[in-house]
């Protein structure tokens, strides 16, 4: 296997040096189908289950009043708004014919809208994750209320597996960081975070699925929630650490206060970017790997493209398995850091040195 992979690799790279101009010339006329990779990765205002036609989502725009359109195209045809792509490339626009390209709507004169409150694909998948969590664990809760698992042992693989995760998170994440007394207040938030993020991460691995967590807006919203959970529950000691760090000379506060205030915002920022970048890069890698098949087909003809699939598909499967692991890991990391930040905000007595070390370690 090893030998085969190496040989295949060498062969492929050797081919890259032989500029196959003639083949490209021959293939120029052929169309291998258009795959909009960015549309698969980024947010769009339609949902698509191929080969079913796209279902366009309504646009809700606030710009000098409230505007509601059934779809992006009808917003473009209204004459009030235009896709940003056509604003920059007006020659490409054919009224009534051209469809949306970037789906980013601006006013026809090119000024951006005040607020775009449209329901996007990622919002829908986010809701799906929420309802799925609610459905699975709501059912589980009803089972517990009926007595199964409360007085007796839990029944069934699903209940047992879910319980393993819940108990692990409760003991190792929530209780370990927040403490025995207050854990009941924050466990629901952190458990919701973990399972919703996990489901969102895993959606992207399913056929037709989308990963809302690969969108910076979604992860930002999640991180902002954590930011509020942390700072609304901060104790006196926590704020004292921010605005009057004990144990350092007074004049140093001039430097320390801005740094600490900045630290309040970098923590959720790091949370959002970590989750978003991990999820997006994984998906991008998978699509790029599979895209290589089409690149090879374009360069050397369909036959070699198909042959190279023998190499790219196993690679993709490997990345895919890695992504399944990363889906769990990133959900865990987000939950873990949220718990850590909340725990730090709740800390009552000041262990100044320990506290500060934990903070800097977490920020990295």
């Amino acid at each position: 296997m090893n030998k085969f992979v190496r040989t295949a690799f060498l062969l492929l790279f050797a081919l890259l040096y032989v500029t196959p101009t003639t083949v490209i010339a021959q293939d120029e006329e052929r169309n291998y189908g258009d795959i909009d990779v960015i549309a698969k990765l980024g947010d769009r205002y339609y949902i698509e289950f191929e080969p079913l036609p796209k279902l366009y989502l309504p646009r809700i725009l606030i710009s000098e009043g409230f505007h509601f359109f059934g779809s992006t195209k009808s917003a473009m045809n209204s004459g009030l708004f235009q896709d940003q792509f056509y604003v920059e490339n007006p020659q490409a626009f054919v009224a009534g014919e051209s469809g949306p390209v970037t789906y980013k709507l601006v006013r026809t004169d090119g000024t951006p809208v005040t607020l775009d409150l449209s329901i996007s694909k990622h919002i829908l998948w986010f809701w799906l994750a929420g309802f799925l969590t609610l459905f699975i664990f709501g059912r589980m809760a009803r089972k517990y209320e009926a007595g199964i698992g409360r007085e007796t042992a839990p029944k069934g693989a699903g209940m047992n597996f879910a319980e393993v995760l819940i108990v692990y998170l409760r003991d190792e994440v929530v209780k370990a960081n927040i403490g025995e007394e207050k854990y009941m207040k924050f466990a629901p938030y952190l458990l919701s975070c973990f399972f919703m993020i996990l489901f969102m991460n895993l959606f992207g691995l399913a056929p037709w699925g989308q990963t809302p967590t690969s969108d910076i807006s979604v992860t930002a919203a999640l991180a902002i929630t954590t930011f509020f959970m942390v700072n609304l529950n901060g104790t006196k000691d926590y704020w004292k650490h921010v605005f009057a760090m004990p144990g350092i000379p007074k004049f140093m506060l001039i430097i320390m206060i801005p740094v600490e205030v900045l630290g309040l915002f970098t923590k959720p920022f790091a949370l959002a970017v970590r989750l978003f970048a991990n999820m997006l890069s994984g998906k991008m890698l998978i699509l790029s790997m599979l895209g290589m098949i089409f690149v090879f087909a374009g360069l050397y003809g369909a036959g070699l493209g198909l042959a190279s699939a023998l190499l790219w598909v196993p690679f993709t499967l490997f990345i895919y398995a890695l992504k399944v692991f990363a889906a769990f890991l990133q959900a865990y990391i987000f939950t873990m850091f949220s718990a850590l930040f909340i725990g730090m905000a709740l800390e009552d007595h000041s262990h100044h040195d320990e506290h500060h070390h934990a903070e800097t370690a977490a920020a990295h």
Partner: protein
């Protein structure tokens, strides 16, 4: 690739943040009420009951151990007591035995003394009787033999002297 298109991946859409933020809070509240609340409460309750039964089992075990230890101690005490009683009884019995022997010995001695005294008495009595009898007999015999040749008074004196001589010797 169109740079505008690629840029879309890093777009920060405030509208999406607002939607997700609002709906996330709603989901959180719903999940807390319908899912995590009951689940966590049930887990807590089960763990508590398990802990309680473990604790009570341990308590019962401790009590059983204590009881068995007490029993052992009582048994050992009883054994010691029994031993002590046996020893005491043995000593008592020995004492009684010695006493009885002593008593019977002294009683026997008294009886012996009494018997000896009686024997002595009887002997004296017999001796007296015998003496008188012998004197009579001798007198009778002598008188019979001598046929009153002699004076009875003188004879009797003779015989008495004779007998006195015998008894004194």
């Amino acid at each position: 690739m169109n740079p505008v298109l690629a840029n879309a991946l890093l777009n920060f859409e405030p509208g999406i943040v607002i939607w997700i933020g609002i709906t996330f809070v709603i989901f959180l509240l719903a999940l807390r009420k319908f899912a995590w609340g009951p689940v966590l409460a049930a887990l807590e309750k089960r763990e508590k009951s398990i802990q309680e039964s473990l604790d009570s089992a341990e308590k019962a075990m401790k009590r059983a151990e204590e009881i068995s230890r007490n029993n052992d101690e009582a048994l050992r005490k009883a054994e010691v007591e029994a031993q002590r009683l046996r020893k005491e009884a043995k000593e008592e019995a020995e004492k009684i035995r010695v006493d009885i022997i002593e008593k019977s010995r002294s009683e026997a001695e008294a009886v012996k003394q009494q018997i000896l005294a009686t024997i002595e008495q009887e002997k004296q009595k017999a001796m007296l009787e015998l003496r008188s009898h012998v004197a009579e007999l001798a007198l009778e015999a002598a008188s019979k033999i001598l046929n009153a040749e002699l004076d009875e008074k003188r004879n009797k004196k003779l015989v008495d002297d004779f007998i006195d001589g015998i008894s004194k010797n």
